[in-house]
Point group: C2
Chain length 108, copies 2
Protein backbone atom coordinates (compact mmCIF):
# COMPACT_ATOMS: atom_id res chain seq x y z
CA UNK A 1 0.00 0.00 0.00
CA UNK A 2 1.48 3.30 -1.12
CA UNK A 3 1.55 6.52 0.89
CA UNK A 4 -0.81 8.31 -1.49
CA UNK A 5 -3.43 5.55 -1.10
CA UNK A 6 -3.18 5.88 2.66
CA UNK A 7 -3.50 9.67 2.61
CA UNK A 8 -6.32 9.51 0.10
CA UNK A 9 -8.24 7.18 2.42
CA UNK A 10 -7.78 9.67 5.27
CA UNK A 11 -8.72 12.58 3.03
CA UNK A 12 -12.45 12.73 3.72
CA UNK A 13 -14.29 14.17 6.72
CA UNK A 14 -16.60 11.15 7.15
CA UNK A 15 -13.73 8.68 7.06
CA UNK A 16 -11.67 10.77 9.42
CA UNK A 17 -14.61 10.86 11.81
CA UNK A 18 -14.80 7.07 11.66
CA UNK A 19 -11.10 6.87 12.51
CA UNK A 20 -11.58 9.31 15.38
CA UNK A 21 -14.47 7.26 16.74
CA UNK A 22 -12.41 4.09 16.61
CA UNK A 23 -9.56 5.74 18.50
CA UNK A 24 -11.92 6.48 21.38
CA UNK A 25 -14.17 3.44 21.50
CA UNK A 26 -13.34 -0.17 21.90
CA UNK A 27 -13.44 -2.04 18.62
CA UNK A 28 -17.14 -2.12 17.82
CA UNK A 29 -19.70 -3.34 15.35
CA UNK A 30 -20.36 -1.67 12.01
CA UNK A 31 -23.81 -0.44 12.95
CA UNK A 32 -22.63 1.08 16.24
CA UNK A 33 -19.70 2.74 14.52
CA UNK A 34 -21.64 4.18 11.60
CA UNK A 35 -24.79 5.46 13.26
CA UNK A 36 -25.20 9.22 13.45
CA UNK A 37 -22.75 10.15 10.73
CA UNK A 38 -25.44 12.05 8.88
CA UNK A 39 -25.45 9.87 5.78
CA UNK A 40 -27.12 6.59 4.93
CA UNK A 41 -25.79 3.33 6.30
CA UNK A 42 -24.73 2.18 2.85
CA UNK A 43 -23.05 5.48 2.14
CA UNK A 44 -21.09 5.24 5.36
CA UNK A 45 -20.39 1.59 4.68
CA UNK A 46 -18.66 2.55 1.45
CA UNK A 47 -16.36 4.83 3.38
CA UNK A 48 -15.66 2.06 5.84
CA UNK A 49 -14.77 -0.27 2.99
CA UNK A 50 -12.35 2.32 1.65
CA UNK A 51 -10.65 2.42 5.05
CA UNK A 52 -10.55 -1.37 5.08
CA UNK A 53 -9.06 -1.46 1.56
CA UNK A 54 -6.37 0.94 2.71
CA UNK A 55 -5.76 -1.39 5.65
CA UNK A 56 -6.46 1.41 8.13
CA UNK A 57 -9.25 -0.69 9.60
CA UNK A 58 -9.86 -4.41 9.96
CA UNK A 59 -13.27 -6.06 9.58
CA UNK A 60 -13.92 -9.33 11.35
CA UNK A 61 -17.31 -11.03 10.96
CA UNK A 62 -18.72 -12.37 14.20
CA UNK A 63 -22.11 -14.00 13.90
CA UNK A 64 -24.65 -11.42 12.86
CA UNK A 65 -22.21 -8.56 13.51
CA UNK A 66 -18.96 -7.44 12.00
CA UNK A 67 -16.33 -6.09 14.37
CA UNK A 68 -14.29 -3.10 13.24
CA UNK A 69 -10.90 -2.32 14.71
CA UNK A 70 -8.27 0.31 13.99
CA UNK A 71 -4.98 -0.81 12.48
CA UNK A 72 -2.37 1.16 14.32
CA UNK A 73 0.57 0.09 12.16
CA UNK A 74 -0.97 1.58 9.04
CA UNK A 75 -1.52 4.96 10.63
CA UNK A 76 2.08 4.86 11.79
CA UNK A 77 3.18 4.52 8.16
CA UNK A 78 1.53 7.81 7.30
CA UNK A 79 3.33 9.46 10.16
CA UNK A 80 6.61 7.90 9.06
CA UNK A 81 6.18 9.25 5.55
CA UNK A 82 5.85 12.82 6.77
CA UNK A 83 8.77 12.34 9.15
CA UNK A 84 10.89 11.17 6.24
CA UNK A 85 10.01 14.25 4.18
CA UNK A 86 10.91 16.48 7.11
CA UNK A 87 14.19 14.62 7.52
CA UNK A 88 15.14 15.14 3.87
CA UNK A 89 14.29 18.78 4.27
CA UNK A 90 16.50 19.08 7.33
CA UNK A 91 19.43 17.37 5.60
CA UNK A 92 19.14 19.74 2.69
CA UNK A 93 19.05 22.76 4.97
CA UNK A 94 22.07 21.51 6.85
CA UNK A 95 23.98 21.04 3.58
CA UNK A 96 23.05 24.57 2.61
CA UNK A 97 24.18 25.92 5.95
CA UNK A 98 27.58 24.26 5.62
CA UNK A 99 27.90 25.62 2.11
CA UNK A 100 27.24 29.13 3.34
CA UNK A 101 29.76 28.65 6.17
CA UNK A 102 32.43 27.61 3.68
CA UNK A 103 31.80 30.76 1.68
CA UNK A 104 32.34 32.81 4.79
CA UNK A 105 35.67 31.04 5.39
CA UNK A 106 36.65 31.75 1.81
CA UNK A 107 35.86 35.37 2.39
CA UNK A 108 38.49 35.68 5.17
Amino acid sequence: MTADELFRALGDPTRLEIVRRLSNRESCTISMLLSGLGISRQGARKHLQLLADANIVTLKPDGRDTIVSLNRATLAKGKAFITEIELQWDKRLEALRQYVDNDQINDL
Copy 2:
Protein backbone atom coordinates in the same frame (compact mmCIF):
# COMPACT_ATOMS: atom_id res chain seq x y z
CA MET B 1 -7.51 24.11 7.14
CA THR B 2 -8.95 20.82 8.36
CA ALA B 3 -7.07 17.54 8.63
CA ASP B 4 -9.13 15.89 5.92
CA GLU B 5 -8.32 18.68 3.45
CA LEU B 6 -4.65 18.26 4.21
CA PHE B 7 -4.74 14.48 3.77
CA ARG B 8 -6.82 14.78 0.63
CA ALA B 9 -4.21 17.09 -0.86
CA LEU B 10 -1.51 14.53 -0.06
CA GLY B 11 -3.64 11.68 -1.37
CA ASP B 12 -2.48 11.62 -4.96
CA PRO B 13 0.70 10.12 -6.43
CA THR B 14 1.52 13.16 -8.57
CA ARG B 15 1.12 15.58 -5.69
CA LEU B 16 3.12 13.36 -3.37
CA GLU B 17 5.89 13.24 -5.97
CA ILE B 18 5.88 17.04 -6.08
CA VAL B 19 6.22 17.14 -2.29
CA ARG B 20 9.05 14.60 -2.44
CA ARG B 21 10.86 16.68 -5.05
CA LEU B 22 10.54 19.79 -2.95
CA SER B 23 11.96 18.03 0.09
CA ASN B 24 15.12 17.24 -1.86
CA ARG B 25 15.67 20.34 -3.97
CA GLU B 26 16.05 23.93 -2.98
CA SER B 27 12.88 25.90 -3.52
CA CYS B 28 12.60 26.05 -7.29
CA THR B 29 10.55 27.42 -10.16
CA ILE B 30 7.29 25.88 -11.29
CA SER B 31 8.66 24.68 -14.62
CA MET B 32 11.71 23.03 -13.02
CA LEU B 33 9.52 21.39 -10.41
CA LEU B 34 6.85 20.07 -12.76
CA SER B 35 8.90 18.79 -15.70
CA GLY B 36 8.99 15.03 -16.17
CA LEU B 37 5.92 14.17 -14.14
CA GLY B 38 4.35 12.37 -17.10
CA ILE B 39 1.39 14.67 -17.48
CA SER B 40 0.91 18.01 -19.21
CA ARG B 41 2.22 21.19 -17.63
CA GLN B 42 -1.31 22.46 -17.03
CA GLY B 43 -2.36 19.16 -15.53
CA ALA B 44 0.57 19.23 -13.13
CA ARG B 45 -0.06 22.90 -12.45
CA LYS B 46 -3.55 22.02 -11.21
CA HIS B 47 -2.05 19.61 -8.72
CA LEU B 48 0.39 22.28 -7.59
CA GLN B 49 -2.47 24.70 -7.07
CA LEU B 50 -4.22 22.12 -4.91
CA LEU B 51 -1.11 21.84 -2.77
CA ALA B 52 -0.96 25.64 -2.55
CA ASP B 53 -4.65 25.82 -1.57
CA ALA B 54 -3.98 23.30 1.18
CA ASN B 55 -1.08 25.51 2.28
CA ILE B 56 1.38 22.66 1.83
CA VAL B 57 3.32 24.74 -0.65
CA THR B 58 3.87 28.46 -1.12
CA LEU B 59 4.04 30.20 -4.51
CA LYS B 60 5.99 33.43 -4.81
CA PRO B 61 6.12 35.22 -8.18
CA ASP B 62 9.58 36.47 -9.10
CA GLY B 63 9.81 38.20 -12.45
CA ARG B 64 9.06 35.70 -15.18
CA ASP B 65 9.28 32.77 -12.75
CA THR B 66 7.28 31.62 -9.76
CA ILE B 67 9.21 30.15 -6.87
CA VAL B 68 7.71 27.14 -5.09
CA SER B 69 8.65 26.23 -1.55
CA LEU B 70 7.47 23.57 0.89
CA ASN B 71 5.56 24.67 3.97
CA ARG B 72 6.95 22.60 6.76
CA ALA B 73 4.44 23.67 9.40
CA THR B 74 1.51 22.31 7.39
CA LEU B 75 3.08 18.88 6.98
CA ALA B 76 3.72 18.87 10.72
CA LYS B 77 -0.02 19.30 11.30
CA GLY B 78 -0.72 16.06 9.44
CA LYS B 79 1.80 14.28 11.59
CA ALA B 80 0.30 15.79 14.72
CA PHE B 81 -3.16 14.56 13.77
CA ILE B 82 -1.98 10.96 13.51
CA THR B 83 -0.03 11.32 16.74
CA GLU B 84 -3.19 12.51 18.47
CA ILE B 85 -5.17 9.51 17.22
CA GLU B 86 -2.44 7.18 18.47
CA LEU B 87 -2.46 8.96 21.82
CA GLN B 88 -6.22 8.50 22.22
CA TRP B 89 -5.78 4.87 21.33
CA ASP B 90 -3.05 4.43 23.94
CA LYS B 91 -5.13 6.11 26.63
CA ARG B 92 -8.03 3.81 25.87
CA LEU B 93 -5.78 0.75 26.00
CA GLU B 94 -4.31 1.88 29.31
CA ALA B 95 -7.80 2.35 30.75
CA LEU B 96 -8.68 -1.15 29.57
CA ARG B 97 -5.53 -2.59 31.14
CA GLN B 98 -6.33 -1.03 34.50
CA TYR B 99 -9.85 -2.37 34.29
CA VAL B 100 -8.54 -5.86 33.68
CA ASP B 101 -6.08 -5.49 36.58
CA ASN B 102 -8.92 -4.54 38.92
CA ASP B 103 -10.79 -7.64 37.87
CA GLN B 104 -7.79 -9.74 38.73
CA ILE B 105 -7.64 -8.10 42.16
CA ASN B 106 -11.32 -8.85 42.61
CA ASP B 107 -10.62 -12.48 41.81
CA LEU B 108 -8.23 -12.84 44.78
